[in-house]
């Protein structure tokens, strides 16, 4: 299953790209509208890019009244990414989305561009769990000492699955002036540079929980997606690659089938957890 990374696609401006995915994940929705950070918001690095968009979004009221109905009109499966600054805000967002025809809710507890409640993963997931019966994915940061512990905390609190990873904080300076290129100074690092980080996080979270995992981070080809599946992901998402190549979902899907077949797997998901060399540590509860 191929998704987009939250914040890396607007299905309303590029519907054909969203329709080429198995599921469209929205940009993170917050309780109140957010304009986002001051420009400059993006900068290329040698092996990736930085962004400091700052969770620009219309807020939950306009999202429910305007954005979501138009997304559903596209006929795509929708996951809604939600974000807040306290567990109660996540719970309120989940409660308001509970009766909407969306396939899952993704809790963004790891945006590097807003002050982040990383230490509160368990509290946030538990509050969200109490507020909705929807499938709940927790999107975690790899920038913690032990991703496995964070994943286990999310699992204990009732997450149905995990999304790994979000971007990690980085800084790019203007070569001439040595001033930060981004308006906000630091930003979230994504792209190929993140790929080994994502693989390690998926590998650890799989061992710690056995939960379904959406692997995200630097996927550019089907082979990259297959590696995430082998590390323990049951699905993967495309992020930065979509900026350069809106046709990436179609291409990557074809490559994925070919790469799996070339390695003797009947299907790409037959390579699930192959990197661990054995059966899952706990029963797989639900494959996304």
């Amino acid at each position: 299953m191929i998704l987009n990374a939250s914040g890396c696609l607007d299905a309303l401006t590029a519907p054909e790209v969203a329709q080429s995915l198995d599921t469209f994940v929205t940009k993170t929705v917050t309780p109140l509208p957010r304009e986002g950070n001051e420009p400059v918001r993006i900068a290329e690095t040698d092996l990736g890019m930085l962004n400091s968009i700052g969770l620009a979004n219309p807020g939950i009221d306009r999202f429910l009244g305007d954005t979501l109905p138009r997304l559903l009109d596209l006929g795509v499966s929708v996951w809604v990414s939600v974000g807040g600054f306290a567990a109660q805000e996540y719970a309120e967002l989940c409660a308001r989305l509970d009766d909407q025809p969306v396939a899952a809710l993704e809790l963004n507890v790891s945006c590097p561009n807003v002050s982040s409640p990383e230490d509160e993963v368990e509290e946030i997931v538990a509050a969200a769990r109490a507020a909705t019966t929807k499938t709940l994915y927790a999107k975690l940061s790899p920038a913690v000492p032990d991703v496995g512990s964070a994943a286990a905390a999310a699992a204990r609190a009732g997450a149905d699955g995990l999304t790994l990873v979000n971007t990690i904080r980085g800084l790019v300076l203007d070569e001439r002036t040595l001033a930060p290129k981004l308006g906000s100074g630091v930003g979230g690092l994504s792209g190929p540079v993140l790929r080994p980080v994502a693989l390690a996080a998926v590998f650890a979270a799989y061992r710690a929980t056995g939960l379904p995992i959406v692997g995200v981070g630097g996927v550019e080809t089907g082979a990259h997606g297959l590696e995430l599946i082998a590390a323990g992901a049951s699905a993967f998402a495309l992020g930065t690659v979509l900026f350069a190549d809106p046709e990436a979902p179609v291409r990557v899907r074809e490559e994925l089938e070919r790469e799996a077949s070339a390695r003797g797997f009947a299907t790409p998901l037959a390579a699930y957890a192959a990197a661990h060399g054995g059966p899952p540590p706990t029963p797989l509860r639900r494959v996304a």
Binding site: T13, P15, E16, V17, V40, R41, E44, A56
Partner: protein, 228 residues
Amino acid sequence: MPFHSRSGLRRELLDVVKVEEVGPYRLLRLKRGRLESGIPGQFFMLAPPGRLLPRPMSLCLATRTELGFLIDPIGPGTNALTGVARGERLQALGPLGNGFRLDVDRPLLVGGGIGVAPFPYLAERLARPPAVLGFRSQAHAEAAALVPNAEVVVEPRLVTEAMPLGHDVLACGPEPMLRAVAALAPDAQLAWEAPMACGYGACYGCAVEIDGKLERLCVEGPVLEHAA
């Protein structure tokens, strides 16, 4: 209303025809393939070899068989784009965004520096209107040869000092120039610039302030009917 492209993304690997020197600038000429040339002021995302992100470039020239882009090679992306040779190919996505509104009575093109890039194509579509073009040096001013009926000014003289009033102004250039032009011609159509990762509304990187709100320039612009 400006031309809107809300869907129908077209992307193609285009053959490099040649790269020509135009003073310090380079004119990158590509085989057109099956891509549309679009409305002047629209742009294409061109993928520089070896770089992660494509770069937004407005279309400079369109013939039946070629698309031309005037590029200022100032960084790793623009250097890679202008470092290609015949036999190589480049990914191009476009046309994207909203171009200039062409139903104007007394068009006047006002451009500064690399901002003259969309004018050769625009001038052709508007039946060669008068133009006032400003450059920082005589070498840069060589680009004016691409634009018919152009009056050239070189710094320290500014385009706003040479700009006749009472026209329908279509302008492209650095932000201070656009603001100065808008002060003299409030109804001017202005083509703005911002760093972009995608060019089709996905990345939210190209936010500019429009009517007091941060909006995506690739979706709302790059040509806007008022000062952003």
